[in-house]
């Protein structure tokens, strides 16, 4: 597949994830919409182009792993997994239902394809480091991908892990920092200012790239560059918007976890479907 077509295909996949996530959230009428929307393009790149996995054998030992430390982004992760065939899309109706397989925060024991249980912020990095270390002990070729939130970086355990990963030269660990500039109580600059994330990661000894987190090509290029760095863990700082492209949620305060009306969510779904159609048309165009 030529490069442009590949990018267009990933764009379609990203819009499919967005539509599917919104539909999934619509069934129960509330949820973590903000942080789900901000990582859609990253999930599209990971599951559409980068990661090695077998949807029919989710525990295939040689797979690449993804740990979504910002576990509240479960809805976007579940939509992605369903679209890739880890489980039927009909299962997305179980989001947040008692006894269901799709809890608000990612759970490796409930959802096929979820590699680690997360939700208590700050813990996913350490687990990802353990996986990367274990794979290296086994001389496995696989990569461990990690998604953390910018607000999540408030948690000190991350920085214990960042120090460790650089010290151990974990080149098989690639972390995305979803820099959507917001956390539950408001904007990160007001709640607890993290400052220059990229500069901090460089100071911690990581290979760092900064990209537009909604730009498929930039994310893909950054991952490919990160994979070539053997002697350092890689951080890709994603410049994102919390609630991206959802009119009633995008960039506004209080969009971490929202209740919404059927009209609001249906309008968001229609709007996302129009974008999906456009992306599909673009894929069919030559050049």
């Amino acid at each position: 597949m030529d490069r442009l077509k590949r990018l267009k295909t990933l764009r379609v996949f990203a819009e499919e994830i967005r539509v599917t996530t919104l539909k999934e959230l619509s069934y129960i009428g509330f949820g973590h919409i903000g942080g789900s929307m901000s990582i859609v393009e990253t999930l599209a790149v990971l599951y559409g182009a980068v990661m090695r996995y077998d949807a029919k054998n989710p525990n295939w030992p040689s797979r690449d792993k993804l740990i979504v430390s910002k576990g509240h982004s479960g809805p976007a992760v579940y939509a992605t997994l369903a679209l890739k065939g880890f489980f039927p899309e009909s299962m997305l109706r179980e989001l947040n239902l008692g006894g269901g397989r799709l809890p608000s925060h990612c759970d490796r024991n409930k959802t096929p394809g979820v590699d680690m249980t997360t939700g208590s912020l700050g813990q996913g990095a350490s687990a990802a480091i353990g996986v990367a270390l274990g794979d290296r002990m086994d001389k496995a070729k696989s990569f461990t991908y990690l998604i953390v939130g910018d607000g999540e970086l408030n948690e000190g355990q991350n920085w214990e892990g960042f120090m460790f990963a650089a010290h151990k030269k974990l080149g098989n660990l690639i972390m995305f920092i979803d820099d959507n500039k917001q956390q539950l109580d408001g904007f990160t600059k007001d709640v607890l200012d993290i400052g220059d994330i990229a500069e901090k990661m460089r100071a911690f000894g990581w290979h760092v790239q900064e990209v537009d987190g909604h730009n498929i090509e930039e994310i893909l290029n950054a991952v490919n560059a990160a994979k070539d760095i053997a002697d350092k863990p890689s951080a890709i700082v994603l410049d994102t918007v919390k609630g991206h492209s959802v009119a009633f949620a995008e960039g506004i305060a209080g969009n971490h976890h929202m209740n919404f009306t059927p009209e609001q969510i249906n309008e968001a779904i229609s709007s996302a479907e129009r974008v999906l159609d456009l992306s599909r048309k673009a894929l069919l165009e030559r050049g």
Binding site: R108, D115, F164
Partner: protein, 320 residues
């Protein structure tokens, strides 16, 4: 099967050395064993392991939360991680990491918390875990074990390479009183009746097992027949044995180097009230903080002695 020593003497091998020797013997054949420490390799006695198996020994630095998360991640790749720190930092400091990343995620992690209670001695109150087991006992499905001596420790560490789940081992680091003869074997989740008796049962753990045996001899001299149980597994607690002891002897004393609140006293009492309600007296630190001192000073200070157990036994019998 286990055999109790006829004479109570200090062990000739240190607990930490037994920990290291046992894992070194196992690691040769089992490539999945990985050891982690948080800047306490010199204290945990694991230097020989780090030297012999550098690729499977992980120095995490002074970062216990990260260490537990790494252990959880390692187990995702099939490794069998043993992570050590002092009991204070291996339990209360990392409670949520053990809860979420290890237990709730249903991963396969062993945590060694050393220097239980008064054995922390000169490190003092900040380093003296009287609450580690209580902190962790509320975590579903976790197994909590306090071996009494090197023989018990070695056999339990060996077993921990063949089971799955989250295990916390409360381990004295130095020399302790030997209770068991070499070759004894232990069943996790079952208490050991070390001595039979009909008037009262002393249920003890860790360094208090030897005190309980001494107390039983002292009580015998006073005409009281005391049964002694080594309840080395605090969770899941051996409710069947506790009920039988309550039924047979009609009174129970618990003895622990730990706060009785949420500790062995609490765990045994829960079993007693659910099965055969009989008087229970508790020997342990009664909701107090630790402090600096020699172990013998601290044993006296917190009444963790055979004499205190003897007095508690008499009180329990009086309440029948």
């Amino acid at each position: 099967m286990f055999k109790v020593k006829t004479k109570l003497e200090k062990s000739d091998v240190l607990m930490r050395d037994k920990y290291c020797q046992t894992l070194m013997a196992l690691a040769g054949d089992n490539e999945k064993i990985v050891v982690l420490d948080a800047d306490l390799v010199s204290s945990s006695g694991m230097k020989p392991f780090f030297k012999a198996f550098p690729d499977r020994a992980v120095q995490c630095g002074i970062a216990e939360a990260n260490m537990i998360g790494i252990a959880a991640g390692l187990s995702l790749t099939g490794k069998i991680p043993f992570a050590h720190s002092f009991g204070t930092f291996a339990s209360r400091r990392v409670c949520d990491q053990i809860y979420v990343s290890a237990a709730y995620a249903k991963l396969n992690v062993r945590i060694i918390g050393s220097d239980p209670g008064v054995t922390a001695a000169y490190n003092g109150g900040t380093h003296m875990p009287f609450e580690d087991m209580a902190v962790l006992r509320g975590i579903p499905e976790i197994t909590l074990i306090e071996p009494a001596d090197p023989v018990a420790l070695g056999d339990i560490i060996r077993q921990l390479c063949d089971v799955y789940g989250v295990y916390y081992i409360r381990m004295a680091r130095k020399s302790v009183i030997s209770v068991y003869q070499d070759g004894s074997s232990f069943e996790i989740g079952k208490g050991n009746v070390l001595r039979n008796g009909g008037d009262v049962t002393i249920i003890a753990s860790g360094i208090m097992v030897a005190e309980a045996l001494t107390a039983a001899y002292m009580l015998e001299a006073q005409g009281v027949s005391a049964r002694v149980v080594d309840m080395f597994t605090w969770k899941p607690i051996d409710q069947t044995l506790i009920a039988k002891c309550a039924e047979d002897t009609g009174a129970i004393v618990t003895a622990e180097n730990h706060n009785t609140f949420g500790g062995l006293g609490g765990a045994v009492s829960e079993a007693v009230v659910k099965t055969v309600p009989v008087p229970v007296e508790m020997v342990g630190t009664l909701d107090r903080f630790g402090q600096v001192g020699t172990e013998s000073f601290l044993r006296q200070e917190y009444h963790l002695t055979a004499e205190a157990i003897t007095e508690a036994a008499k009180r329990a019998i009086e309440r029948k």
